[in-house]
């Protein structure tokens, strides 16, 4: 589903960024991407979603190269950023309609999905209000719903659990499992290692812009006590 091959992205005038990243996300994977602050998680996520250009390497999603067919690739994916910065001048429903229009979601489909997800996240009655009045958690829920509207094959998320209440976190995990069970894939960054260990079948750890380990969760954790122990060993090495 997602192939990242030897990717370099260095910010101009600095030495910061990511280098030599190679990673495969298969259909059905819930792939956790972990690392310390400033390790390069967001940089990589933005590069594979087409927000940032990258200097070298390739990003292939569902068999398509993001640099050659960016629009086709973007139709197949959805991105949830670390900060839910969305159009504050729109109401919740206007924002969802806008995203649905862009992705060409039919009226019937959008009605069904909005009803389903807004109902699950319990924000239906707030959809008529301006986004500027939403709390961080409500904005995060709205971004999640908008990401799911066009039924993406690959969901890329940057710290998706931040700001969500326990019920919404539980729901998101359920949705992630349902999506991957239906043949989709998820690649997301997180600092919540317990969640990553229980939820994901694969994990990658990044340190100072380089991937230090990646693969099946069971292979990475092996006989160690937890993902947290592995992470601490890795970043302090």
């Amino acid at each position: 589903m997602l192939v990242i091959r030897d990717l370099d992205k260095i910010y101009k005038g600095t030495t910061k960024g990511v280098t030599g990243i190679t990673l495969h996300v298969e259909k059905g994977d819930i792939y956790a991407f972990i690392g310390h602050n400033g390790a390069g998680k967001t940089t990589l996520l933005k590069a594979i979603t087409g927000i940032h250009e990258f200097d070298r390497g390739a990003v292939i999603i569902d068999g398509l190269d993001i640099t050659k067919q960016p629009e086709e690739v973007k139709r197949r994916i959805a991105y949830v950023p670390d900060n839910p910065d969305i159009y504050e001048f729109m109401t919740g429903i206007q924002y969802l309609n806008f995203i649905a229009d862009i992705y060409g979601v039919s009226a019937a489909e959008r009605e069904a999905r909005i009803a389903e997800y807004a109902g699950k996240f319990e924000i239906t009655d707030s959809l008529g209000d301006l986004v500027s009045g939403y709390s961080h958690g409500m904005k995060q829920k709205l971004v999640l719903i908008s990401a799911l509207l066009h039924a993406p094959k690959l969901l890329i998320m940057d710290e998706p659990f931040v700001g969500l209440d326990p019920k919404a976190s539980f729901l998101l995990k359920e949705i992630m499992r349902e999506m991957t069970a239906a043949g989709g894939a998820i690649f997301f960054s997180t600092h919540v290692l317990d969640v990553a260990e229980k939820l994901c079948n694969k994990v990658a750890i990044i340190k100072e812009g380089r991937l230090v380990t990646s693969g099946l969760m069971s292979d990475v954790v092996k006989d160690r006590s937890s993902l947290e122990a592995i992470f601490m060993e890795t970043v302090e090495a």
Binding site: G13, Y87, L127, G133, Y134
Partner: protein, 550 residues
Amino acid sequence: MSTFVAVFKAEMLNFLGLNVYRHTKDPSERKRRKILYIVFFILFLVAVAYLAGSAYAFHLYGIERVIPMLYPCLAMVISLFVEILLSRGNLYRAGDRELLSSMPVKSTPVAAARLAKMYIRGVIISAVVLIPTFLIYGLAVHAGVLFWIMIVPEILVLPLLPVALAAWVGIAVSALIARTRHKVLVEVLVAVIVVVGMLALSMYFSGGRGVSVNLTGLTQSEDGGKLSRKEMNDRVAEQAVAAIERIETKMPFVKTWASFFNGEKPVGILLIAALGLAVFALTALVIGRNLFVISAKLTPQALHRDYKLTELRSRSVTEALVRKEAGRYFSSGLYVSNTIIGPVIAVAISIALAFVDIEKLLGSNVKLPFAMHPTSFLPFLLAAVFSMMTLTAVSISAEGKTWWITKTLPVSVGDIINAKILFNILVFAPFYVLSEIILLFTVRTTVLQRLWILIVPLVYLVFATVWGMCTNLRFPKFRWETEAEVVKQSASVALGMLALVFAILPGVGALMLPELFGNLLTAATVVAVVVAAVLLYRRIQSADLLRLGA
């Protein structure tokens, strides 16, 4: 006091964006700011040269005594105008309200610090106006020591009143806006009323109530013969002295005002300082008590939580993008009021022509020494006001933190750019159509001139829209705290306004040339502008949006 100092330091830290320039690691950001500072510096040099030149001209005509009367007023008017434009964004910005409210600080020192920042800007304006002009005056009249000593206190005193007055205007407008649900509409209406009111006042005073000058009499003797250059200069000086004397007789306070600044009665500066400080302190106190309350009222209110999911409708990508642009645009009073002024002025001019001759509208009661063709200038005047400030010069920067959404949408660069261009044209089109319909009834002219009135503003409207898009693509600004930074102070807006200059220059040519050559110049300009618009449009279709904000 410590709160005031801390907030003031924070306010001044990024004055003119210097802190970002100093610390940014982004080479393109650094380059953009460098270009902006070079533009500022050139504008500064032009302003100083213009002010010094005008003061020197007064000296040449023997009326240098007008300098200490005129330029302090000019400094105050500029400060007042600038601060009225910026006061709401400076004083009541919502961005850091919650942060400051959560801190153990009172709002009065915060308001005082923000006012102090406005005052510093006023001091800079006063210095730019007074130093070159007073230098000319001092040297011309061999001024005494007192005059030279008083320049610094004068520069410090002049901005007090305008800044305080601008803050009160800000309070009045903010209070009005805070009380209504339709905040954007009220903000736009206030801006339009102020601008149209100023235009109407200007026309009222130029309609025969000012000092009339007969320019024909400056170039011809009583028997119709041509005057020598020296004789012409003498006549100009005579008329200028006579005009100043009439002003001094009719308005004696003007002479008193001048005596405060020319070293005769420096104690007057103390009076202005006392009055200014009192009003300034009162302003800080009143704003301080209400700062966070007003800021809170200006930001969105509590949720209604009463939405019922009903039938939804799907739209095309273009319609969705245009509607998104519309939502962004109409959500910001500042954005709307700044861009809508040009089209409103175009309609106002069209209506005004029903009551005032075009000659009077353009040249008041000045009799010119050679034939001019104001009707030939009219299409360019309309083109200039339509090109004054386009939405496209701001529309990319206005996306700010939400730029990630546009970048991740599965749409082409052309779709994004075309939607922004289309929306700009949709906003201006009703004003263009209305203005043209009114002109059909208010201006009587030849078929060809009527055609130019129809075509020239239209091609300039399209060109300015594309040009604005180009400047914003070249100089986008995604990191901003207040909308004023992108709507009023960005490089793309400054460069976008060059479209107005592109309209005025050929317009002046058409005004002064014989009608035939004027028509030829207009035709050539239309062709050139259309070609430029097409070339620029084709160029921006392949813009690299990924590079922007990366």
